[in-house]
Symmetry: C2
Subunit: 436 residues, 2 copies
């Protein structure tokens, strides 16, 4: 049998501890599958003496992850520190430059420095694997890097944040407000004390930026993502969505258009009969559309210590199976130096259907004025629903679902309606996404 | 750049022709991703002069696929002939024994001879890749072989036959009979002139047998699969399923139980709100449950020339990226010689919920007699629905949904009800499957 694959793990939080546990628990299976043992020979974390409920065996302790990354006798450096800069970045760079393979679960790091790190990895001929960085246990990186060879991707989209999907699922199931759901999610540990990063879509954006690069062979550009979170989604939206045959999900979407690449994260209406609409709670799902293969949808656990550790170990196992001389595909599907500049499509040119919910004064001519604004902007309507407002007799709710139109047209029409002075509240605009 | 990977393709039907077309159309992308060109240097098919609308370039023609498999200058032999024996088997064996990598889309061949072929491949140190053999374009083989390293699988199940799913989808959507749906599916090319192989579940069984081996590290045993097709599913079943919150799908299921491994293919009630219940038409879906990773569900195109060719090319690309000395994981996840004997769990010991539809004479005491038979066999009921029979005044329909029980108990209870003489028609029994 080949010599053991020697790994160093930096970061012993939930994922790191799960990983150490799984490596011990499944040592025999892994050795059989990989044809060699996987041995943890070094570890690093902030606090040496914390009880993590794991047995670190004979692994050498390093206070400094950079020293671990460079240590003799390490074949693979596993980065589970987190954060886009700081020790995560410096240790991953040190490992790659020293000629070590790297496995990371760090989406923020890759989103910011992925192309630079890929360039080093490819120059040094080592692997940079990151299955756990996007959608946890779902093998979307492997699928896009390896299972779609030769395919041209037209669109990739998905539910990539468990916190948001948990909140939206409970809002629909229990009829409770966003704020109450968020509080509960925090109590149950599904949302952070400061939930901004999740609920405003930043986490999804990091993940999406990585998939965009894989999908279209372009450089990662996380700053060019149109971003809207879920904090302004109300029960009125959720009820109206159901009434019209939709369900609201926070999606990250990247697609190729004539004017460039659209990257957007926003609450989205998906058809209630679609597969992705059935993805509930903290589960994640990613869909990829290509020319030859068609549409794939992968659903599974997007977070959690065991699922994430499992994805990290899958990446390590791929390295364990490889031998010197093996050329894995490039880190982002295309060689890092050949990645195209990211060409952003303007959000105003986005084409799609729209859901528009308006709360208006109940007086003559309002509806005609709204209809005129739509017609003036060449927006044709698929459905129109009008309700009395339960809380205020003098108000009415008007819900419009448009046929395919442009973001620019919708913005202009809504601006016009605002100017007409009929609205009593901010207009709610939610994009509709095709989904099988 | 490394030398071109030279492939020989045996079989130029729909998939073979799509493959040749895609290799030409996407030559530049594939070369960039693999670091070398993929060149078709030899082909073989039954009729040399048929117009397939493809350009075979300088590929050498072989009348005999075995000669192609053994030809000098071939690195990879692609078998797209089909059939479990005959030229498919002899050419794949010849290729492996000559030390060529093999890619095949042939589920029947693997289902029957997979372990034997894997043994040869592993002895010769060559790859035997077969992504396209199960669920077409869905990367379930790659996921199970590579993305779940170290995980123990508890259950794998899925919709793996597009013909059956198409028929069941249309039966539900349009309220038409099985026979009419089948006729339409045949006209549209979704079903064969002799549809037995698909509708009676044999095709699903072939695919399931391969997944079972991957899931549980056991030898392939396609003959030990409990089999029920969809030809006796009626509109009454479909309507009753909907009423009770279920949808009927033909599933292949393999799971580990205390008494061994269950492999079964049968019409199945899945919760209507589950993701897999939303998989419509010819689309396929496969779910895998493991201890660490949790549950993954992959959906996508299960057939079609382009999707299948894309999966075959993904397998070829994996070989193109590999270099001498690379040790891929074993063909079925575990080394072929270490695969365990298949230990069959008896169907009578299957545990689960059951849907039972009975058409009975409308007379006093019938319902009490049915309830007694259930109670006598310790079967507790989740729901009971009773309808008049639309076509016959003197008949009533009784639908029972049981809590978890055993196949043996249900069979005994139904036998008892038959003996009681209250049934006017055969009892319909459909198993219920948990699904997220």
């Amino acid at each position: 049998m080949a010599e053991a694959l020697r790994i160093g793990i930096a970061g012993l939080g939930t994922v790191g501890a799960s990983m150490v546990r799984m490596l011990q628990d499944k040592a025999a299976e892994l050795t059989r599958q990989c044809g060699r043992e996987i041995a943890v020979v070094g570890v690093s974390a902030r606090e040496r003496n914390r009880d993590r409920g794991i047995d670190l065996g004979n692994a050498q302790w390093f206070d400094d992850p950079v020293a671990l990354a460079r240590a003799d006798g390490i074949d693979v450096f596993v980065e589970l520190i987190g954060g886009e800069d700081g020790p995560a970045l410096s240790s991953v760079k040190a490992a790659l430059e020293t000629g070590r393979h790297v496995v990371t679960a760090n989406k923020a790091l890759l989103s910011r420095h992925g192309v630079h790190l890929a360039t080093i990895a490819e120059k040094k001929g080592v692997l940079l694997n990151y299955e756990a960085a996007v959608a946890g246990g779902i093998p979307i990186i492997k699928t896009m890097r390896e299972a779609m060879a030769g395919n041209s991707v037209t669109r990739v989209f998905g539910i990539m944040n468990g916190t948001c999907n948990y909140i939206l699922t409970r809002m629909e199931a229990e009829g409770i407000s966003f704020e109450d759901c968020l509080k509960d999610a925090q109590l149950l540990g599904y949302a952070e004390a400061d939930p901004t990063f999740d609920i405003e879509g930043h986490d999804t954006a990091h993940k999406l930026s990585i998939l965009t690069s894989l999908a279209f062979g372009c450089r990662i550009s996380a700053d060019d993502i149109y971003l809207e979170g879920i904090s302004n989604i109300t029960q009125a939206d959720i009820r109206a969505a159901a009434e019209l045959g939709y369900r609201i999900k926070l999606l990250g979407v990247a697609q190729k258009t004539e004017s460039g690449i659209e990257q957007r994260v926003h609450p989205t209406m998906v058809p209630i009969g679609s597969v992705i609409a059935q993805v509930h709670g903290v589960t994640n799902a990613v869909a990829v559309e290509t020319d030859y293969l068609g549409e794939l949808l992968l659903t599974g656990p997007g977070a959690g210590g065991n699922a994430t550790a499992s994805a990290v170990i899958g990446d390590v196992a791929d390295i364990a199976k490889s031998r010197p001389g093996f050329q894995h595909g490039p880190v982002f599907g295309w060689p890092a130096k050949q990645l195209l500049p990211y060409r952003r499509a303007r959000m105003r040119s986005h084409e799609g259907g729209y859901f528009i919910r308006l709360t208006v004064h109940d007086r003559a001519g309002v509806f005609a004025a709204i209809a005129k604004r739509m017609a003036d902007n060449d927006i044709s309507l698929e459905s129109i629903v009008q309700h009395g407002d339960a809380t205020e007799d003098a108000h009415k709710t008007v819900i419009l679902v448009t046929h395919e139109t442009t973001e620019a047209a919708v913005r202009k029409a809504v601006d016009g309606i605002v100017k007409d002075g009929h609205l009593v509240d901010k207009a709610q605009v939610i994009r509709i996404e095709r989904a099988a």
